[in-house]
Each structure stands twice: as C-alpha cells, then as structure tokens.
C-alpha cells in the first residue's frame, strides 16, 4: 500500500516527474507528431485514454498474477493488454473521425510501442498504488504528456518561420527545446511533497 494523497500523485505525475521531460518516456511520438498544435492535442487525448484503460487493466492483472504466483508473466500480459486497447482506440477513431485518423497516421498504432504507457503500468505496480490511486496516476501522467506535447508543438509552429541553419532544423532543434523545457520543469520539484 502507498499512502500518498490523490492530489500529490496527480501533481507528481503531471508536473514534477513529467513522463516526457523527466523520465524520457514517449519520446518517439513526442518528436514525431509535435509539429502541429492540433494534432498534438488530439494525440495527447488518445494517449491519455489508452493510459487510463491500460492502467485499470494492469491493476486487475497484477492482482490476478499475484494470486496465482505468476509475476514473471507480468510484462507479457501488460503488453498484450496495451496492444489490444490500442487496437480498440484505433477502430473507434477510424469510425468516428477519419480525418483525425489520417492526421495521426502511423503514430496511432505506434502508441503500442509508446514507452509511456507500459512505463505507467510498471511504475504503478512498483509503487503499489490501489485502484483509485492508479486511475489518478494515469490521469496525471496523461495530462503531463499532453502538456509537454502541446508546449513543444507551440514552439515548433513559431520556429517554422525562424531562420535557423539547415543542419539544426528538425530533430536537433526539437531536442534543444525539449532540454530547455526540461530545465524549466525542474522548477516544479518539491511541489508534490
């Protein structure tokens, strides 16, 4: 059991230990889809939704695996659950909004290999959160991921028009901005207690 209060968990996951800027989880979509503000927001929403569902499933699976003494299956069962959740979300988005489906492109199925989601499931197991705490943790992590993605996308949209040397354009520039953002986010340390 873990005694952290819910607000503490949320602030910790979203700001102090931001998944992207402090734990480096989910860097691939972070660099890939952070070019446009609109896409970034929607990507953040999709990731948050997958996080929420997989976090709830992970809690159930962990309880089940502990009861049958088969913790070594943890990793395999987590990844299977996450892969099927992503498949569901993909079908849902394809049906509801084909335009969004096109905009997210290859990065939608790649949510499966988004480390942030598997990382979340593993961290919540390590920290021994109960069911409600897990949900809040997932929400916080999703909010943090979206925040980082939107911030970077905003910067990158502005920098489109800036005159930068050709060799720096693209990934290098994004990484430098991410580094500066990461420094800024260090200002939040100590906030979550």
């Amino acid at each position: 059991m873990n005694n952290e209060s819910l607000s503490q968990i949320f602030i910790n996951a979203s700001l102090v230990n931001n998944f992207v800027l402090a734990y480096f989880l989910g860097i691939c979509p972070f660099i890939g889809v952070s070019g446009k503000l609109g896409t970034a927001t929607k990507m953040g929403g999709a990731v948050m939704f997958v996080m929420l569902i997989s976090s709830m499933c992970a809690y159930g699976i962990h309880a089940l695996l502990v009861s049958i003494h088969a913790q070594f299956l943890q990793l395999i069962s987590y990844i299977v659950v996450i892969a099927s959740t992503v498949q569901l979300v993909e079908m849902f988005i394809k049906k509801m909004s084909p335009a969004l489906f096109k905009a997210l492109g290859i990065f939608l199925p790649l949510i499966t290999t988004n480390c942030a989601i598997l990382g979340l499931a593993l961290f919540q197991t390590n920290k021994e959160y109960d069911f409600v705490q897990s949900i809040v943790y997932a929400l916080g992590a999703g909010a943090g991921f979206t925040l980082a993605l939107v911030l970077i996308a905003g910067f990158r949209e502005q920098l489109e028009f800036a005159e930068v040397p050709k060799v720096i354009k693209g990934t290098v520039l994004t990484l430098v901005i991410a580094g500066i953002l990461s420094l800024t986010f260090m200002g939040f340390s100590g906030l979550g207690g």
Binding site: L25, L75, I79, T113, C115, F123, V167, S182
Partner: protein, 210 residues
C-alpha cells in the same frame, strides 16, 4: 534503404557494418530514444543497457527469422512483441541475478526494452524477410551500433557531469562539475549535440560528392 541494399546483394559483413555507421540506429535513424536518454547518465549504465538491448535484439531477430514462414501475416506484430517480451523477461531476471545494484539503477527501463522501437522495427523490416545468417549479422550490427551510441552519450554526460569515467576521477579537484549534464535536460542537450555532429558530417560528405 534495405531494398537498395538487396539489389547489390550485400555480404554478411556489409549487413554488420551498416548498423555500426551508415544506418546507426540512434544517430541516423533516431530510434529507441527512451533508454538512450534515460539511462545514459553514467558510462557504466549506458554499457549495461546497450548490452541488454543488443542481446534481446539478437535473440528476437534470430527467432523471428526462424519462424518467419510460420507466423500468419495478420498477427505478426503481436507475435513479434510476444517474442521480444519473453526475451526481455529473461534478461530482466538475469540482470537481477548478476548484480542487484545494476538492476536497481536501471530500474523499469530494462522492462521497457520491450517497447524499444528499434527491436520491433528490425524484426518487421529485416528479420521477417531475410534468412537466419543475415538476420543475426543485422542484429549484431544494429546492437553494436546502439551500444556504441549509448556509450558515446553516457561517456560525455559522465565526464562533464561527474568529472569521471567508469567511476575514476579524470580532473583535479578544482573542476566544477556540470550538474545539468546528469539531469534529464543534459540528456536532451547531449543527444542534440551528437545529432548535430552527424548532420554536419553528412552535409560535408554530400558537398564532397557534388
């Protein structure tokens, strides 16, 4: 890139070399970024992580290549992930048995090898289409290339951030450590610097060819 290589019928050595330099997974393809940034705060962690990843890559590439004619196309990604997850679990328990300290400092990032895009992309793009020998060479090349890149990052961050390499002090006591290099921000900056170096070298080569 792979299709081009197939036309010239490359030898196994070529498959090995290309992962090291021309298609280096980190510096050229920018794949598998999470562990690259997260565990490279010291050279030792970087080497351990690189070796673990290379091992999983080698085993999964071999097995995927052996099974490539038996796995139905529709469920191939799921099967690859299961194969990878199995080997990662083995690696995880092996590292725990070898050194508890190392296991602690790498933390959840060993388990996160499962979602390293590099491994899945090699299984999908190479091992599922080529024979066992070539797949092993490809995995070795990519694995060593990944290890090399991790070491480059880890060494720079440890030397500047801690004033040491593998725990040995390099500078006299007056040296002021750049604490920022060990922090997450340092990871972003170091990787950006290495990518910049590679970009500049690429530019220069292109200009020479013209």
């Amino acid at each position: 890139m792979i299709e081009n290589a197939a036309n010239n019928a490359p030898s196994s050595t070529d498959e090995f070399i290309k992962g090291l330099w021309k298609e280096n997974p980190v510096f050229v393809q920018v794949l598998g970024m999470c562990p690259v940034l997260a565990v490279t705060n010291t050279a030792e962690n970087a080497l351990a992580m690189g070796m673990a990843t290379a091992f999983v890559l080698l085993m999964s590439n071999t097995l995927v290549s052996i099974l490539r004619n038996f796995i139905p196309k529709e469920v191939r990604i799921a099967s690859y992930i299961l194969i990878i997850a199995t080997f990662v679990t083995i690696t995880d328990y092996a590292i725990q048995a070898i050194s508890v300290d190392l296991h602690k400092s790498l933390g959840a990032f060993i388990s996160l090898i499962v979602v390293n895009c590099l491994i899945l992309s090699r299984a999908e793009a190479f091992a599922s289409k080529n024979n066992i020998g070539k797949s092993i060479m490809d995995a070795l090349g990519m694995g060593v290339g990944f290890l090399f890149a991790l070491f480059c990052l880890g060494a720079v961050r440890e030397i500047l951030g801690n004033g040491s390499l593998f725990g040995f002090r390099l500078f006299p006591d007056q040296f002021q450590e750049w604490i920022v290099m060990i922090l997450p921000a340092g990871g972003f900056f170091t990787l950006a610097a290495w990518l910049l170096l590679f970009n500049i070298m690429k530019e220069r080569r292109l200009r020479h060819e013209q």
